[in-house]
Structure formats: C-alpha cells, structure tokens
C-alpha cells in the first residue's frame, strides 16, 4: 500500500519516547526526575529533528503501520511536512520551557520528594507525547485518545500552583474539554458508521458530500473549537492560562491549544477534502475575526499581566481560522500563500507567546505580583525580560521583520488577492489593537518606579536569557526564507494520491 522508502519508525518514537519517559519519571521519583528530563528533552528534540530532516530530504510522508496491521483494521501514523514542522516547533518550545523551568522546579537534595517538580516534569513530557500523537495520528479514534491525553496533561498543569482560583479554572477547563471530546466522538462514530473506516487517508477517498458527512464534520469541529478556545467557546482559557505557573502557561498557550486546531485543519483539508464549502469556511473565519477583535479589546482592559497575555492568545488563535476561507479556495497562488501564512502565524505565535509568559513569570516573581499599573521601573530591574516581552510583542503586532509580520502579511496578501478584503481589515485592526496592549505594558515597564515601589526579588539570569532567546526565535522566523512553504505542502498531495488508489 505504501512505498518502502517512506516507512519509518520515527513517528512511533516521537510518541513513545516522552510517554515511556513520563512513566519512568513517576516510577523513580525524587531527584532522578530532573536527570531523566535532562536526557529525554534532548533525545526528543533529536527525534523531532530527525523526522524533520527525513521529510525534508525525501520530500514525502513518513508512514508507520503499527503492529503491521494495515488500516482500516489497524492504525497508521503519518508524518507529513506539516507534522514534521509542528513536531520540531513543539520540541524546541518544550526544550526551551524545560531550560526555563529547571531552577523553578528542582528537587532539593536530601529532602523528601516535593510535589510541584515531579508533577511538572511528568506533565511536560505527557503534553509532549500527546502533541506528537496528535500531529502524526492518522486514525480518528487514535486521535481522540491523543486529545484526551493532551487534556489530562493540561488540566493538572493549570491547577499546579494549588490556589483555589486555579482549581476552579482547571475544573471549568476540564468540563469544556470533556464536552468537546464527546462532540468529537459523536462525529467519529458517525463517520465510521457511514464509511467503515477511521483512517484519514482511506476516509478522504470514501467520503462524499452528503448530509451525514456534514453532520459529523460539524460536530467534530465544534468539539475541537471548544478545546481550541475559539470565540464563543473561549471563556475557560484566560483564567486557566493565567493561573498556571509561568512555564505551564507558556506550554499551554504556545502549544496545547494548537493541537486541537491542527486537527480541525486535518479534518477539513485532509480527511474530507472537497467538503469545505464557502459558507462553512466563512463562518469559521468569522468566529476567528470576532475572536481577534474581542480578545484584543478584552486584553486591553485587563489589569493583570498574565491575564492580558491570555486574552491575547484568544485573539491570536482567531488569526489561525482565517486559513479556512483563504487557503480553502482553489485559487493558486493565493491559497498557498494563505496556507503558509496561517502556519507561520501558528509557529511565530508559539514562540512569541511562550516568551511572553516566561517574561511575565519572571516579572511576577521579581515583584511578587503582576499588576500592570505597578510595573514601573521593571525595565531597569529586569532589562532582559522586558526586552523579551517587547520583542515577542513585536511579533504579535506584526511589525517587520518578525515572524508575526510575515505571517500576517501573507494572510493579508492572500485576502486581497482573493478579493476577500474584509479579512484584511480585521488583520490590520487586530495588529493595531495588539500594538496598543503591548505598548501599554512596555510603556508602564519603562516608566520610572513609583514612590511605593516594592523591593524586587532576585531573578535567575539564565531564565531571562531563555525567555529572550525564545522571543528572538519569534523574530527570526520572519527572516527564514519562504522555503518552509514547500515543506508545509509535503504530504498534502500524498494523502490525495493515496486516496486515488
């Protein structure tokens, strides 16, 4: 069924390395957890890099048939260009988060095991395994299990600090996520009932534009939207993402919400090509546009830094949904431009948002609070963190030469080329609003310290540098030549070619 050259065990390793690593951590406990992390993080990065290199070099999808049982009876894993890019970005952000979190979550020597370090490191690896399973999954039910893995890793991370507010945020997040899972599951069973397979490639060949496909796709999309926190199902996100400890927020905002978004794209572009029609695409993008405007305006009104950043995630996730009308239309090259722009937005937001939450975490640690009104003088105390925040902000605003700029520019270009100018207006307005909320924070940080400025706690220089490096990553993404656009197309054709057989 598949040519030998594309068989590779690497996707399995991408899932199983962090998954078994997580089990091992729980088994050994105590100080060994950090040592294991020290081994597993680079190893996982190496696997991701190997997959990226293999897909790049060979130019087609890597496939692994688990247990040798071909779909539809068995489960296959597929790493196409998009999966490879997602895996690499995930690995880089996870490793950076690990470096950032190292001093915060370390076990003291010769004392009983502490709660937070053990839980944090195991959850970090579990999130990694789940995200890798989501991006290489090719079976709708296997993807359901992967999504649940992601949820069950993310929820305790929200509640990690143990504050009552965060427990409540975690519970609300869990309830939203469970409703989303159920909705997704109904769609899955309907598709299986109609077409007798759960495999995405087989499904894309069998699916017909008929009512049951529509119903299934809608239910699955609604479920995934609840997990992605697209407006109007975004209510759970700000308290959850703001309540987690800084490294947790970084991973949640940068990566976890993207996992379910990735599946929405998989569903409409890979599993059910040709089913995406204008009305559905415009509706999704319309919700995205509402999220951009509403999220940005709410971000402007926040008095706390972490909540501001969390609302900014609501807004930035909105941009991703512009991919549906812009890349879904069959008008080359505009749709390819939009496709590249959409994914670049995802990647640059991942870097920018991770950096922002890291910087905000350091600022909160130094001040003992994160009230925006009382940030005065922090630029002098923590110049590196402030710079990291500002650089990440540039990418969110879409200022050249950042990755966010290129992404938004490509989306803008695509919408103008296709005559869908209203999305262009939203993109520009969103950029202006993002500029406003970033400038409020930076302006306050640059202001002189107030008379009642509290003394600041010392902050690790190493962690500041990690935040800055991640922010630089967001900027540098804008300088990468547009070659990745070709990578992002790898496998899209493969799936269709497979479908044709």
């Amino acid at each position: 069924m598949t040519d030998a050259a594309s068989q590779s065990v690497l996707p399995v390793l991408g899932i199983m390395l962090p998954a078994t690593g997580m089990l091992l951590m729980l088994l050994v406990g105590g100080r060994y957890v950090e040592w294991l992390a020290l081994i597993l993080l680079p190893a996982g990065l190496a696997v991701a890099a190997a997959i990226f290199a293999a897909v790049w070099r060979e130019g087609h999808t890597l496939i692994y048939v688990v247990g040798g049982w071909q779909p539809p009876l068995g489960i296959a894993l597929r790493a196409d260009g998009l999966s490879a890019a997602m895996m690499l970005v995930t690995a880089v952000i996870i490793c950076a988060t690990g470096l950032f979190a190292g001093p915060q979550f370390s076990q003291p020597r010769g004392r009983p095991e502490r709660r937070a370090p053990l839980v944090f490191w195991t959850l970090l690896l579990a999130i990694w395994a789940a995200l890798n399973a989501v991006v290489v999954g090719a079976d709708l039910f296997n993807l359901y299990v992967a999504l649940e893995l992601l949820t069950f890793a993310a929820v305790p991370l929200v509640a990690l600090t143990g504050g009552t507010e965060t427990i409540e945020a975690a519970l609300r997040y869990l309830l939203f996520a469970l409703l989303g899972s159920v909705s997704y599951l109904i769609g899955t069973v309907l598709l299986f009932a109609a077409y007798g397979t759960l495999d995405i490639a087989l499904l894309s060949a069998r699916v017909r534009p008929e009512p049951i496909s529509w119903i299934a796709a809608s239910l699955m999309t609604i479920g995934l939207i609840a997990k992605t926190a697209l407006f109007p199902l975004h209510l759970w996100l700000p308290p959850a993402h703001a309540g987690a400890p800084a490294p947790g927020s970084a991973v949640l905002s940068a990566l976890v919400v993207k996992g379910s978004f990735f599946l929405i794209v998989r569903l409409w572009f890979d599993a059910m090509p040709g089913l995406l029609n204008l009305a559905a695409a415009q509706l999704l993008a319309g919700l995205g546009a509402a999220a951009i405007l509403l999220g940005s305006i709410l971000a402007l009104r926040q008095s706390r830094l972490k909540l501001l950043i969390a609302y900014s995630t609501v807004a930035q996730v909105g941009y991703l949904f512009l991919i549906f009308p812009l890349a879904g239309a069959a008008s080359e090259p505009a749709s390819s431009i939009a496709w590249t722009g959409g994914w670049l937005q995802l990647f640059s937001h991942a870097f920018a948002k991770a950096a922002m939450f890291m910087a905000a975490g350091l600022i909160a640690e130094a001040l003992g609070h994160d009230r925006i009104a009382e940030l005065g003088g922090i630029a002098r105390r923590l110049p590196i963190s402030t710079l990291a925040f500002a650089l990440a902000g540039l990418s969110l605003m879409g200022v050249p030469p950042s990755g966010g700029f290129v992404a938004k520019w490509l989306l803008l270009l695509a919408s103008v080329m296709q005559g869908q100018w209203w999305w262009a207006a939203v993109i520009l307005l969103g950029g202006v609003l993002a500029g406003a909320y970033v400038l409020i924070v930076v302006g306050k940080a640059l202001a002189p310290a107030g008379a009642a400025a509290a003394p600041t706690a010392p902050v690790s220089r190493r962690r500041e540098v990690v935040a800055l490096t991640v922010a630089l990553g967001a900027v540098l993404l804008g300088l990468v030549p547009l070659q990745p656009s070709e990578l992002l197309q790898i496998g899209r054709l493969d799936v269709h070619a497979l479908a044709a057989r």
Binding site: M16, V66, G67, I75, E113, A133, P156, F192
Partner: protein, 313 residues
C-alpha cells in the same frame, strides 16, 4: 421475535426513565444512586446489542467504580454547594436546544446511515486465527488497535497523577483518606474477610477467560480494585502512601510491560506492537496480567483520591 421486541422496548423505556430521574433528582445523593441503577440497566442493553464485553465493562467501570467515586463525592459535598438554578426561560431554551440535538441525532442514526452497514467484522475475524485468540474484541484491543490501548493506559496513569497532584504540598506523598474516620463495623470487617478471596478468583477468571470469551484486563482489574477497596475500608490493610515505591511500581508495571512488549515486537517481529509468530497469545496474556494488576491499583487509587495525611515516617 415480538417478545424480544417488547423486552427491548421495556428496557429502553426503563433506561430513559432512570436517566431522566438522574438528571431531574432534587438531591445529589439520589441522582448518584439512580445513576448506578442506570449503569446496571444499560449493561443489559449492551447484552441485547450482542456486546457482552462492553456490558461487563459498563457494569464494572461505568456503573460500579464510577458510581463508587460519585457516591463518595455526593456524601462529602451533599447539596450544601448549590448555586442558583438558571432562570426558567434559559432552562426552556436549553431544553428546546437539547431536544433539537436529540431529534437531529436520532434522525441521523435512523435515516442517514447506509445500508448495508460497513463493517470491519470480516477482516477482524479472518485474522483472528493468526493471533491465537478466540475473542475478537480482545484481538482488536491488544492486536489490531493495540496503540489505542497502550495510550489509554497512559491516560489512566496521567489521570492518577492529576488526582494525586491535588494534594496540598505539605502532605505530598502521604496517605489518602478512605471512608469515614469511625472504626469500621464488625459486619464490614467480616465481609472484607470473606468476599475478597472469592472476588479474586472471579477477577483472575475474568482476565484469563478474556482471551477467548467475554472478559479481560479491564473487567478483572475493576473487580480486583473493588476487593482491595473493601479490604481498605474495613481497615484490614493500611492504605499505602502515594509515595510508596511499591504502589508506584504496581501502578506503572502494566503500562511499562505493555510498552516493553511493544518495543520487543519492533526488535523481533518487524513492527512496534507486533507479536512474533506463535507467541501472540502468551505475550498478550502476559501483558493483560500486568495490566489487570495495574488497572486494579490505579482504579482503587483514583477512587481513594489525593493524599490527605502526611506520609508515615
């Protein structure tokens, strides 16, 4: 045929009536009790749908262990927590929306599903001989779609970690509280002395027979968990501390063994989670044995909840 139809109708009506009771019940405790009855009746529906494996799982986990968990929560919280019910207009709107959803789904399943229905039963049965198993559901769980099962075990461990992580920092690694603080009644102790040996035999039978007949690791594990919980509630054994290396090993051994068998398949049988020819059945039974123990420990720990007392010195 008509008597079967009448039975199905009565069963479905009863299931729906009890579900309505569960949703509409005034007190949390009555809702939970009717939920357990609902789960048991539902497992009869699964028998009628010719899915005895699912019926056992629903009865053991869906009704049994979930019910136990919810009973504990309802006993602790009661109805003291009640927030205000939404206004009537909102209730009506929600009711209308849910009725629409239900009728839409009913119409979808009754009208839109294709005839003849697509099925994977023929390929699943055709390959059954190569696995050496007699129960096709076990074959799907441990051979064809073993990756799902493996990841789902990780989900279960992760849920336990999530529950444990809710312990306050000062009691981390401590002991969970199970049941009331009062000393156990003599009758309970008597039950805990007599029932577990029988239960263990049934659990082992359930896991062992799963290869060829309805049953398996989940159902056996759930029964084992229930037996352990009875023993712990009767204070015949101490609840182990969540930091106890033995407990952690017990929880993790099954998933790790299964993963190890998966990797061994990669080395010896050309594919991750493939079994070498002729060794499929013994390896699956080995994995299931480990998983039965781990599932039992995990389910029991999930019911017991996070630590509330400091670890013993």
């Amino acid at each position: 045929m008509t008597s079967a139809l009448a039975f199905d109708l009565a069963l479905a009506a009863l299931v729906l009536a009890i579900a309505t009771l569960t949703i509409a019940a005034r007190e949390a405790m009555s809702a939970v009790i009717s939920f357990i009855a609902y789960g048991l009746l539902l497992s009869l529906a699964w028998v009628r749908l010719r899915a005895p494996d699912v019926a056992l799982t629903e009865a053991a986990i869906g009704a049994g262990v979930t019910g136990l968990l919810l009973l504990g929560a309802a006993a602790t919280i009661g109805d003291r927590q009640a927030g205000a019910a939404p206004p009537l207009a909102l209730m009506l709107a929600a009711g209308l929306a849910c009725a629409l959803v239900a009728s839409g789904l009913a119409a979808t399943t009754l009208v839109l599903l294709p005839e003849p229905a697509p099925t994977l039963a023929p390929p699943a049965m055709a390959s059954l001989a190569t696995t050496g198993l007699g129960n096709p559901v076990t074959a799907v769980l441990f051979v064809y779609r073993a990756l799902d099962t493996l990841l789902e075990k990780v989900v279960l461990v992760l849920a336990l970690l999530g529950v444990w992580s809710l312990a306050p920092d000062r009691v981390w690694g401590g002991v969970a509280r199970l049941g009331p603080d009062a000393p156990p009644r003599a009758m309970l102790v008597f039950l805990a002395q007599l029932l577990p040996p029988v239960g263990m035999v049934i659990a082992i039978y359930m896991f062992w027979t799963g290869a060829d007949h309805p049953g398996g690791a989940f159902q056996g594990g759930a029964i084992l968990a229930a037996m352990w919980l009875i023993v712990l509630t009767a204070r015949l054994a101490d609840m182990p501390a969540t930091s106890h290396p033995g407990l952690r090993l017990l929880v993790l051994a099954g998933p790790m063994l299964f993963a190890a068998i998966g990797f061994a398949g990669w080395a010896l049988a050309d594919a991750f989670l493939a079994y070498p020819e002729g060794y499929a059945k013994p390896l699956i039974i080995l994995a299931e044995a480990g998983l039965t123990l781990s599932i039992a420990a995990t389910l029991a720990c999930l019911v017991a909840g996070p630590a509330t007392r400091t670890p013993p010195p």
